[in-house]
Structures are given as structure tokens and as C-alpha cells.
Amino acid sequence: MTVESTAARGKPRRAAAQRTAAKKTGTKQAAKTAAAPGTAQAGQSAQAPEMVQLLTPEGERVEHPDYAVETTPGQLRDLYRDMVLTRRFDAEATALQRQGELGLWPSLLGQEAAQIGSGRALRDSDYVFPTYREHGVAWCRGVDPTLLLGMFRGVNHGGWDPNSNNFHLYTIVIGAQTLHATGYAMGVAKDGADTAVVAYFGDGASSQGDVAEAFTFAAVYNAPVVFFCQNNQWAISEPIERQTRVPLYQRAAGYGFPGIRVDGNDVLAVLAVTRAAAEHARTGQGPTLVEAFTYRMGAHTTSDDPTRYRDKEELAAWEGKDPILRLRRLLERESAADEAFFADLDAESDALAKRVRESIRTMPDPDGMAMFEHTYADGHTLVDEERAQYATYLASFADHEGN
């Protein structure tokens, strides 16, 4: 993540007055599709299937031969509510960063359908390994959104108990969590549990060796893991062409498990495809790669400036495919929600934003001695020694000030 933080900083501790601290860039041919040297064993899958879509940008439901979701109006409203509240929370967090309350915020703007659709496809007993952008998935898992803010405010490195909601901590080192998910899923298989494990990662992450190794381990041990790649077209400033020259979902075949591309801005399609992949995992059929084709509508993080590297037109085109808008169109088209619903949701959004604002302003800074906690579970004499020395050091100021 890119971080040049503007968060408010503390002051030097030492009181003595005289001691103040100063305290799309393709190279030639890169995107070219190479022909096989003579045979039909070409790298390019010539007839790449369309991505799965069940709801068009215009809000029309469409059929797919293999995937379907039955939905009641209530379920459609629930999905809509999830996406709206997630977007509102996200916007509020961005605002809080601008106000200096957070050091950084990675917005999920535009990826609500990919996250809510996949998050809602899971059972409580399933287990999720997110990147740092899965605020919508966290929402579905029941993680209180205010807990997500701590690490971006700088009061902790992850403020929730992964086991309370089967939602692991955010992982910042790109791709690393895909192996954790695979190992966890290997354990699930050993336990004989019918649990699916979901590893989220980005299009950029697909280039990391760890992700490839996760594919290999998952395939060899037939681990019940869903590799859920949100291809939001960008890895900071690099377009997808810097990572691959064929669609990402095709990578799975070469490791021996199914890969599928879904319209990541279509919450119904994501729900259907993720449900199938999770069930595939739970029933002992092994891993699946789901590529959710979506778009990062905002900056990479609040530190980023996308105007340096991408065109307005691209953004505008994707705005027409907005995931929330299209579900709203469906709700309206099917009269599945009345005005009261939208009004209530507005009020609920405002209340959520207010709660988030209030909670951040009352979030306590950690105590200095917290540095010495939790490095080890079973203790370490050096930590004890350093803790004691630091306490003595701190006490020396108290002495000075006391005098």
C-alpha cells in the first residue's frame, strides 16, 4: 500500500525545555497474443467464454445455462442494503482520512457487488482470508466496521479476533494469505469438515509466486479453497496487462482445477458463482478460481493519485456498470422496494456514518508499553529485559518532572 501519512503525530516525550526534537504501459508486443509454434496447443484459449452475468448494467435479469439464483424481493433488498451501507462506510472512512483521523484508507468503491455477492454466498462456518480491501466481506461476516479502522489509524495492526467471525486479519504483503488459506483448507480436509475457505486477492497479486504455490498446494491436496480474485483492472498504477496477457481465470486450468470469470459488478452472478464454488469445496471437489471482473472506481488508497496514470473515459465507462445502480434498477423494475425502504436505508446509512465518526474520535491510543506485548505467546527473556529497561527509562522522566 502506498502511504505518505498525514496522520497527526505525537510530541517528543522529554519535558526538559532545552531539549526539543525536530522531531497502460505495455512494452512492445507485450499484449500480443502469441501463436503456437506449429500446433493447436496454443497458450491462448481462442474461445474464451463470456463471463457469467445474471443482471445487466441496465438492471435486467438474464439467464445463464449453468448459474441461477432464486431471490425473493426481501433478499434483493438485503443485498442492496449491504452494498449501500458498505459504500457509505467506505466513503466515511475516506472522509476520516482526509480529516486526519486515519493515516490511510484503501477504498472498495466499485467492488461492492464482488464483495457482498461473495461474502453472502458463505456460511458462518466457512473461513475467509482477506487482503486489505475487503471491507464489504468483513461486513457480511459480521465484523463491526469500526474495528477495521484501527490499523489505518495506526492504533493496531488488526483489531478484530479472526476466530470470532472466521474472518482473518487483513494481510498487506501481497499474496501471502493465499497460502494461509490453502493450509487452513488442508486442515479442514483433515478434519473432514464441510467448510469452504475463501482466499481473496487482487489482479496484481496474481503475479506473486506465493499465489502460484497456493494453486499448486491446493490442487495437489485437493484443498477446499475458493481463490477469489477481484480483478479491478489496476494494481496501483499498473493495468492488468502488466500482470497477464490472457484472462486470469484461465490460469486455474494449468494447475488442474476450474476457473471461471464472473461479472464482478453483478451481485447476483457473484453470489451464484461463489455459492457453487464454495459448495464444490465443501463437497470434497477441491479448489476453484473465481475471477470477479470489476473495477476500482477510486484511487488505490487515499495516498494515490490515479489521474497520473489513467483516463477519465475509462472511469466513466465503468460508472455505467455501477454495481449498486444496477441492483437499484432491478428493485425498481420489479417493484421490490418502496420509497420507505430507500428512505429508511438513507437514515440507516447516516446513522452508520455517525457511529463510525464517533467511534474513531473516541478510539484510544495504545499505551506505550503495548509494544512489549504479544511478540511471543510463551514469553522471551529479551522482551522482558527491554520492557523493564524501558519502564526504568520512562520512570526517569517522572523523577525529573517530579523534582
Partner: protein, 326 residues
Amino acid sequence: MAAEKMALAKALTSSLRTALDSDPKVLVMGEDVGKLGGVFRVTDGLQKDFGEERVIDTPLAESGIIGTAIGLALRGYRPVAEIQFDGFVFPAYDQIVTQLAKMHARSLGTVKLPVVIRIPYGGGIGAVEHHSESPESLFAHVAGLKIVTPSDASDAFWMLRQAIECDDPVIFLEPKARYWEKGEVDPSGIPGPLHAARVVREGRDLTLAAYGPSVKTCLAAAAAAEEDGTSLEVLDLRSVSPIDFDAIQRSVERTRRLVVVHEAPVFFGSGAEVAARITERCFYHLEAPVLRVGGFHAPYPPARLEEEYLPGLDRVLDSVDRALAY
């Protein structure tokens, strides 16, 4: 089980066997740990007896081994991962340093990572490149890891058991040149603390601090020195993170001189940390600077040069002479 004399490698096998026996969550994983029993046969027979679900041949990918071990630990397992040789741990370095070491702290203590990484290390076996290195410094600097290394069969047995029982990640360094050294192992005994140093030979004139393969070298040096009338104390540090500085301090306060010996390069090696801290703790006791004997600032050399490269008897005694000359 009665006390028995066995090679260090066999003591490790026996230790793994009792761990697998006593806790169904313990797993053994790595390259070639199954039918082959590992290239040093440390896991010999384990897959046969505990099955492929508990003794797991992995794909050839060290980051994958440690990354999935982390996931297994999160699921409640206690994986004991084997890295085939010291020089092959580095593809897993990111997973070890940024994930395994930090995850307990990152989670504010809510998740535990009881992962043991077994690594045969050190030189002296006439091997090709990457098979003789001593990477302990590269892990010791990283908070969140514990690092231990036995020097004899009994410690091999007990320290591995203790490492597996520990709720923190442990890098377990096995002195491969000593795999075939025999020693008494009493599985009914009661082991001392995992991270305590041990005086393996008492002496008056100078302390030799060492660990793993260098302990034997230091004992030989002490024996040789005795014939010259010099009395050397030999301390087996056993643990590189944490280091038992109290034990070194106690010894140095008596002998007033210290030489640290390890195979890893001296520059930024364990000897530097011991020298710095012991000099701070014993500034008025030391009659000579703490001296260090170890590898040179060069890649581990071809086998025909390793005698020259390794801190052998002669180089140890040379430093002893230099320290005594102060």
C-alpha cells in the same frame, strides 16, 4: 522407554515419533519426508506409522511449505516443517519474517502459531553450495521467532519436544555434521528450560561460548588447552533467540575472558550480539575484549576449502591465545 544411546539424528526421529504419538494435532511436512524419510532419514518410518495425512510430502516450494504450515496452525494443527538444507530456507523467508513471526503480535495475541521449522545447518560434510550454511543471524534479528539448536542427542530429543510444545514459532537448527554423533537419551528424564545455556565443561581462565556444531569443537579446544595448562570453560548456548545472557555473564564474571565461536560469518553474527551485550554487562570484569571466531565475509566456500573457512580447533585456540595475551 528406557535410556538409550543413539545418534543425534535418531534422537530427533524418536522425538518426532513421541510428539506424533502424544498429540494428534502434530504434523510433519516437507520435501521427501515420507517414504524416503528425509535426505538425512530424520523422518524415517514416520509416514509408514502415522500415515500420509500426518507425515506429508509437499510440493517442491518452501514458501508454500511455510505458508500452508501457518494456515494449518491457524486451523489448530502443530506443523513441524522440514527445510531440506539451510540454503533452501530463503524462498520461505518472506512467509517466516512477515507472516509467521508477526501474526501473533498482529492479532494482539488472539492467534497462536505453534510452527516448528527444522533446518539441518552448518558445514563440514563436504557438500556442494547452499548445503553448509548457518543462517541463524538472519532469523535472530527478527522478533517473533525463537531459535534453538541442540549439540547432542539428549538435547536433540528434548529440545525438539519442547519446541513442538511451544506456542511460538521456533526455528530448530540441526547441526548436520553432528547427526551421527551418539549420546545417551533418557525419554523418562525431565528436561531443563528450552532457552537456558548449559556449562558443558567448567574452567577458570576463559569462557568459550558456542552452540550447535561448534560445541564439540570447543570441547576439543578445551581439552587441547588443558594440556597447555589453560583451563577453558565451555558454554553451550543452546538458544540463539533468546540468548541466555545471564549464564554467559555468570561465567564471564568468573573467567573474565570470553571467546564466541560459531560457523556463521562473524560480521553481524551472534558473536557480535554476545560481545556487545556482555561487554555492556561485564565492562569492569573483562580483562580482554570479547573475541569472535567464525566464518569469513565470503560465501561458504567449496568443500575443499571448508576446513579453512570453519572455526576449527586451531582458530579457536589462536583466539584463546590472543584473549589471554591481554
